[in-house]
Structure formats: structure tokens, C-alpha cells
Symmetry: C2
Subunit: 153 residues, 2 copies
């Protein structure tokens, strides 16, 4: 944020003065139909607050990294994968993604899934799974169902 | 947060495993009818995310500090004071409180005002206004009306 604006209004889930970054479809289908808005990023802040919105049927990047994700669901419902755990999530739920833990958010409920994600401003780059790591994840039946967009619960 | 729980559900605006810290009435009436819940605080996170809820007619502490507040209104409507600016605010609006700037949030709309506030984990203590500083703030008619809980717009 070049300029520090005191008050920025929202129109639904779009914010004034905040660029909406559309995600392209990923070739390996590691993410789909997600947009990103950086709500707070400032030299004086050691954290950043971003808003991600996943369209129905879409999903965030399947990734892991050293830094933690602190997530609050702002809109809708869906499922998340954290490690090997698949959870149904809904508005206002909190999700903590520990270091170096594979994770993904999916809009499985026929409605958009929007979530805030707080991260450290100084952080490592996400790692994507290798073919071997993906195969290993898919050995767990519940995880495999989640990755096919067919979570069980 | 002693233990890192991956998924914490919400019941309305109360979170599992999060203590609700009620604010006592302040003798000098610098705050009233506010509760606080710390949603994310972790040794691996350089930011903290808290949720404050102000009951109708209540207000957060009138204070200033070196650290920034990054606020997202999660629930309801109200007004805020930032410096000498009084703004009507509503759900999902973003408010940035710059360093050393007097600020206060008031639930002026007959409904609760709930907001997320991201701060640096390492931060200075808030300063309260002296009688002289309060008198100086009240010299501005708009600010004085806000502090009487009668904002104009």
C-alpha cells in the first residue's frame, strides 16, 4: 500500500483501492477459480491480511511453506485440507495451518468460499507438491476424495 | 495460544477455545461495553488478530500508540474517530489507524459493532489522553459530538 488511506469501504466482498488479483488456471490443477485481494500491507505492519475468494467448485493452491497461515472464513462454506485432515468449514471458522503442512481450501458447497488469511510480511515462498508428494497424499482415501472435489463429510 | 488447534468453530461471534475478555467500565469513560477475543496469537506469527465487539451505545478505548491498527468491520455499523476525522463505518469496511493517532470505535447504530484488529505481536502500550489532550480533542465540534455519542453523519 503506497498511500495509507484511513477508511476504505467495501462493496460486498470487493474493497476500495484494493486490486483484485485473479488467479489463472494452473496447468497442474493445483488451484482453480481463486481471486486475491491484499487488504493490509504496510511497512509498519509485520503481518499482512489478504482476502481470498474461491468460486463454487474452485480451490486454492495446494502448497506448504515454513510460515503459518491464520485463516478466518468470511463468507460461505467449503472444505479444507490441513496435513492429512479434511474438515468442513463455514463462515467465521478459524483455521491454523502449521509450518510445512500441505493445505488447500475448496468451495465444495455450491457457493463462494471467502476467507481472510493473516501471514507474516517476511515469509518464505510456498512449495508445490512434486508428483511423488501428490501421489503420497492421494494414498489417504479421505485426502484423495477431497482432491477429487468429493469430500466425504 | 498454548496449543495450536487446526480448526476452531464459531458460534455466531464467539470462538471455540478463545477466551472472551470483558472490559470493565472505565472510570474516566474512555471505554464502555467492549469485549475482546484473541483469535490468533502464536510464537510463529509476527502479527496478532483480535476481535472486539462493542455493544449498542458502547465504545472502544480512546487511545493512541506507535503501532498501527488494521481494522476490518466484521459485524454491524457504527462510527470511528481517527485523528480528527469521524467516519460512519459498516460491515467489511477497512480502517487503518496510523501511528500515534487518537482513535475510538463507537456502536452508534443501535446494534453491536464487531471488528477484527490486526496488530504487530511486538508493540508499544496504548497511551490514554490527558485531561488537556481530551479538552484539545473536544475543541473540534465534530469530534466533541462523536465523543458525546452523537456523531453528526
Amino acid at each position: 500500500m503506497a498511500k495509507r488511506t484511513v477508511h476504505r469501504r467495501a462493496k460486498e466482498y470487493r474493497w476500495e483501492g484494493v486490486e483484485e488479483l485473479p488467479y489463472k488456471e494452473d496447468q497442474r490443477a493445483l488451484f482453480k477459480a481463486v481471486t486475491r485481494q491484499v487488504l493490509f500491507s504496510d511497512p509498519e505492519l509485520s503481518g499482512e491480511l489478504r482476502y481470498f475468494e474461491v468460486a463454487p467448485g474452485g480451490f486454492s493452491t495446494l502448497e506448504r511453506h515454513r510460515h503459518i497461515h491464520a485463516v478466518l472464513v468470511l463468507r460461505g462454506r467449503g472444505h479444507c485440507l490441513v496435513g492429512t485432515e479434511v474438515k468442513p468449514i463455514e463462515t467465521r471458522d478459524l483455521i491454523t495451518v502449521p509450518p510445512l503442512t500441505w493445505h488447500q481450501f475448496r468451495a465444495t458447497a455450491g457457493e463462494p468460499l471467502g476467507f481472510l488469511c493473516m501471514v507474516n510480511a517476511a515469509r518464505d515462498k510456498p512449495q508445490l507438491p512434486s508428483a511423488e508428494e501428490l501421489a503420497k497424499l492421494e494414498r489417504d482415501a479421505e485426502v484423495a476424495a477431497f482432491l477429487r472435489n468429493e469430500p466425504k463429510a
